[in-house]
Structure formats: C-alpha cells, structure tokens
C-alpha cells in the first residue's frame, strides 16, 4: 500500500502537469505523512540533496560548455574534424559526427552539441546537396555521444542518484569507449548511405592549411586535456577540473577567440543559471523521494519482483533495456536517472552487474529517448535547426535506431567496453 501511494501520487502529479521536480517532492511528502514520518526529515533530505560538493560539477561543466559553444569553439572543431574525414565520400556527415565527439568532450550535453554543431553543420550539409532530413538525423544521433563521453552531466547525475557511491572520474572513463563506439557505428552507417546515394566528397586539406586549422582549434581542444588530464593524473578532482575548465573557457572565449562580447556575458550566465536551476531542485527533491522509497523498502520489493521474473543476468539486462527504452521515450533523461537509479541499483548486485557498467547501460538507453518522439529534447532542437518536422525525420530515423540498438546490445552484453578504461586508467 505504501509503495502504491508513492508511485500513484507521483504519476498523478506528473500527469496533471506539476513539474517533475516538485512532483517528486510532493509525492514523497504525501508518503512520509502516510507512514507518519516527521516532515522536517523531508526538508532535511531535500537540503542534503543539494548540500553536496560533487553537485558543483554540473554548473561548472554547463558553464564551460556554454562559454565554449558561444565562443566559436564549435566552428573551429568542425574545421579540425574536416582535416581528418572531410575528403571521404559523404565526408560532411562524418565531419558532423567527429566534431560532435570533440564538442561532446567539452559540453557533456547532447542538446548543447546539437545546437552548436547542428547550427553550423546542417546548413552546410544542405548547401552541399545532402538531404535536409539526413543532415538533421546525423546531427541528433551523433550528438548522443555527449551523453556518454566525459564530462557527461548525466554521469554526474547518475553518480549523485547512486548516493555518491560511484566515482565520477570512473564514470567519465567508462563512457569513453561506448561513446566513441557509438560515433564509429553511426559513421559506418553514414558511409554506406553516402555510397548508395552518391553524396559529395570534400577536398583534401593541404598540410600547411591543416596545421593552421589545428593551431586555431588547439585552445578548444586543450579544454579536453585539462578536464581529462587533470582528473586522470590526480591533479584535480572532477569538481575542480570543472571549475578550472570554466576559468580556462572564460579566458579562451574572452581573450583569445573573442567572439563573445562582454555585454553578452550576463545573458550567458543567466542561461546557465536557469539550466542548472532546473536540475538542482530536481536532485534535491529526488533525494527526498529516494528517502521515502528506502523507508517503504521499494528497492527491496523491486529486487524481489525482478528475481521472480528471472534469475538469469542476460534476461534481466534485456528486461531493463526494454523498460528503460520505453520510459526514456516518455520522460527526460535526468528525472528518469534520478527516479530509476535508487530503485534499480540495489537489484544489480544480485545479478553480479557492476554499477559503473550499469550506469553506461542506463545512460545509453535513456539517451536514445532523447531522439525519439514525442518529447525527445535533442530531436526537438534538431528539428528546429534543420527546419523539418518530427514526422519527417522519424520516418528516416530507423537505420539510426538499428545502429544505436546494436551499440546498446554491445554495451549491455560486453561489460569490458565500459569497465576496461576505469580499471586501466582509473585514479
């Protein structure tokens, strides 16, 4: 009955349109009242949720990404990617994906990636004769790499939803191979489509010009070195790497690239504040929600339910994939991570699954939801930039869905893809 109250009230509150963050808090409060727990404890838990040093990673990386995105880094990374893959048939689609890989390593956000890379690449691809729908689909699917690659904001949210028991640095490292694998898989698809549809080749960039392009992109690329290098060498924690990257991004944007005017800075800061504000309060209330779940032993009941369905690890993983793919279609990534992690994490030790590996499975599953109708935010942004409707792009997205599903299967059933780097390089 207690579990029913929590889940039903949460579903009803969400359905009537209460913001998910507040629906989490209100349903937790109702449940705590039902089981007679003092409500001061609820407020204490909400405060505990945001009273966490690791949480600072999110505003820091969002600010770094915003500074770099508006400071002209995206165009320079695209130019840099052009050097490597631009001359191949269908090269611009490959450039789009490689630039997304680089930019994902700075922004950590799929939507920011689509907005920054897409606004440059989609018009350029259309101008070169690529179909508008294909250009949009490549952009939105390529940007999903940012969900996995460091400094993925969602890896931080997963770590926080797991109660901080999983190292952010290990999650960052774990995302590298699956993220790059996703990028390569989409590139292979693009190559096949390019051959069949005879997409144009780009020019080979001469060595001298390539060197200038690399030099121009150097300052942007150095951000990746600061973030990853700082964490891997143990010079910084992930939080400190975020803050140092922010200061560095500010320096590069305002004094080297100089594409952001000083008078635009308050607007940029206001946007970052709003972005982060949405997530912070959700994390705060999700801790209260998780507290209520723990009190009514919902994770234990979920474990029991899954064990009743099957005690086979592979069947369990397939069930989780199906469940998360469906949930990810209807709700955004961050709230799903915050709700599902405390329920599912206690289940996985029974099946011998590593929580870092499980994190990658969750991120990729829910990440695919970002490019599915009706509420995929990456899809919405991509459609706005590509000036195409969701119906138009969904019809031609199926080869991308197949590729992403194959990568998901590999990430799910080959744990080494996620666990090898944290084991070898983990601080």
């Amino acid at each position: 009955m207690d579990s029913l109250i929590l889940l039903v009230t949460f579903t009803v509150f969400c359905a009537i349109g209460i913001p998910v963050a507040y629906a989490l808090g209100l349903s937790a409060i109702v449940t705590l009242m039902w089981i007679d727990i003092p409500l001061e404890a609820a407020m204490l838990k909400t405060s505990d949720g945001v009273d966490n040093f690791s949480l600072l990673t999110i505003p820091f990386f969002v600010l770094t990404g915003a500074l770099m995105a508006e400071g002209g880094t995206a165009q320079r990374l695209i130019n840099f990617a052009q050097v490597f893959v631009g001359f191949i048939r269908g090269g611009l689609s490959l450039v789009n994906i490689v630039a997304s890989t680089f930019f994902g390593c700075i922004s950590g956000s799929s939507v920011a990636d689509t907005a920054s890379i897409g606004s440059v690449m989609i018009p350029q691809m259309i101008k070169q004769g690529y179909p508008r729908v294909f250009a949009t689909n490549v952009t939105i699917c390529g940007s999903l790499q940012a969900i996995l690659l460091p400094p993925s904001h969602n890896s931080v949210i997963y770590s926080l939803a797991a109660g901080g028991s999983i190292s952010i640095a290990h999650l960052f490292l774990a995302g590298i191979v699956p993220g790059v694998l996703l990028g390569i898989a989409i590139m292979v698809l693009c190559l096949i489509v390019a051959q069949r549809k005879n997409f144009p080749k780009g020019r080979v960039i001469p060595l001298r010009e390539a060197a200038w392009i690399a030099l121009d992109a150097f300052w942007g690329l150095l951000t990746i070195v600061i973030i990853l290098g700082g964490i891997l060498t143990g010079v910084f924690t992930a939080i400190e790497a975020g803050a140092v990257a922010c200061v560095y991004a500010f320096f590069v944007t305002m004094f080297i690239y100089r594409e952001v005017r000083w008078r635009d800075l308050p607007q940029l800061l206001a946007r970052v504040t709003r972005t982060t504000g949405m997530v912070m309060i959700m994390i705060g209330f999700s801790v209260t929600f998780a507290y209520a779940m723990a009190l009514i032993q919902l994770p234990a009941k979920a474990t029991q339910l899954f064990l009743t369905l099957s005690d086979n690890k592979y069947v369990f993983l397939m069930l989780i994939n199906i469940l998360l793919l469906i949930l990810g279609t209807f709700m955004d990534l961050a709230p799903m991570l915050l709700i599902c992690t405390p329920i599912l994490l206690p289940v996985i030790p029974k099946f011998g699954i590593d929580p870092i590996h499980f994190g990658m499975i969750m991120l990729l599953n829910l990440g695919i939801g970002l490019v599915t109708p009706p509420v995929g935010p990456t899809m919405v942004v991509g459609c706005a930039i590509g000036r195409v409707s969701m119906e138009q792009i969904t019809k031609e997205l199926w080869p991308f869905y197949i590729v992403m599903f194959l990568v998901l299967m590999l990430v799910t059933y080959v744990p080494e893809l996620s666990l090898w780097l944290p084991r070898v390089l983990g601080p």
Binding site: I18, A21, S47, D51, I147, V235, I281, D332
Partner: protein, 171 residues
C-alpha cells in the same frame, strides 16, 4: 493592483536571478582558488569547499524559483496538451495547487528546521549558524509561492517558456 503585484514579482524574479548568478560566479572562482593555493602557495585553503556548498544551496533554491516563473521546469505535458480548454484549465489549477502545497511544506517545515538548528555553529565557519544553511529552503518556497499566486491571478497556466529566457539543457 494586479499590475503592481506583477511589477513586484518582476523585481523579485530579477533579484533571485542576480543572487543565483552571483553564487555561480563566486563558486566558479573559489574552487580554482583552492587548487591554486594547494599547488602554487603550497598551503591548501580549507574554506573554498564548505563556502561553495553554502553558495550551492542558495543557488539551488533561488534558481529553482527563477525557473518556475520562466516556465522552464521539466513537466509531462501529454495530458494537459490533449485536454479540452476547460479541462486544461482545471488541470492547470490542480497543478498550481500542487505547487502551492509543496512550497508551503518548504516554508513551514523549512522554518522549523531553521529554528531547530539556529543555535548550532558550522564547523568550518563557527560564526555562521547551521540554520542559515537551511534558510534557502523556506525562502525559496515562499518566493515560489508568490510566483504561483501571480500565475493563478493572471491565469497564465501551462504557458510556454519565455523565448528570451530559454535555457540550455543538461541532456
């Protein structure tokens, strides 16, 4: 009267945004300062981490209020979007009443928490009260409740985000 209330809420919204931005900027500066003192001055500062956490709490509750007024919080809009105009209005009122309830809980029980912990000092900053760290909860709740009243008064239920304030996203 209504216009005056909306103007007051505009000012309050701006104040919350300025406070949040200041917290963000200060947090971004003091954490690297901690790294600088550790590696360059060879004496790590103890205060940046707890200070950043304090600012984070203020930032979280004030920026949440800003996001509410700008209609930026993530919500599931399938049912309100599919409903008839009359039903949509009913759902809008129910959703806002839910918001009032949550924020009243934050105000009342947040204040109780502040009261209970007011005489305890923070270990790193003994002059500051633990209650102060919980104060953003009732203050944030009260401000958001004022914004909810404005929304109910103006009838701007389920309004789309203001295009001038559209945020980025973490996803």
């Amino acid at each position: 009267m209504k216009a005056r209330y909306i103007r007051a809420m505009d000012r309050l919204h701006r104040l919350c945004l300025v406070v949040s931005i200041l917290c963000l900027v200060i947090m971004t500066l003091i954490v690297p300062w901690g790294v600088f003192t550790r590696y360059v001055l060879n004496r790590g500062s103890e205060w940046p981490e707890p200070m950043a956490i304090l600012l984070m709490i203020v930032f979280s509750f004030f920026s949440a209020a800003v996001c509410y007024r700008d209609n930026l919080h993530i919500a599931v809009m399938a049912l309100p979007n599919a409903a008839s105009p009359e039903m949509r209005k009913v759902l809008g009122w129910l959703a806002e009443l839910g918001m009032v309830a949550t924020n009243m809980f934050m105000l009342i029980w947040g204040l109780q928490l502040v009261d209970t912990t007011w005489h305890q000092g923070i270990a790193e900053f003994p002059v500051l009260s633990v209650g102060l760290t919980y104060l953003p909860i009732p203050v944030g709740g009260a401000i958001t409740a004022l914004f909810v009243i404005e929304r109910l008064w103006t009838g701007a239920l389920f309004a789309p985000p203001d295009s001038g304030s559209v945020a980025l996203t973490t996803e």
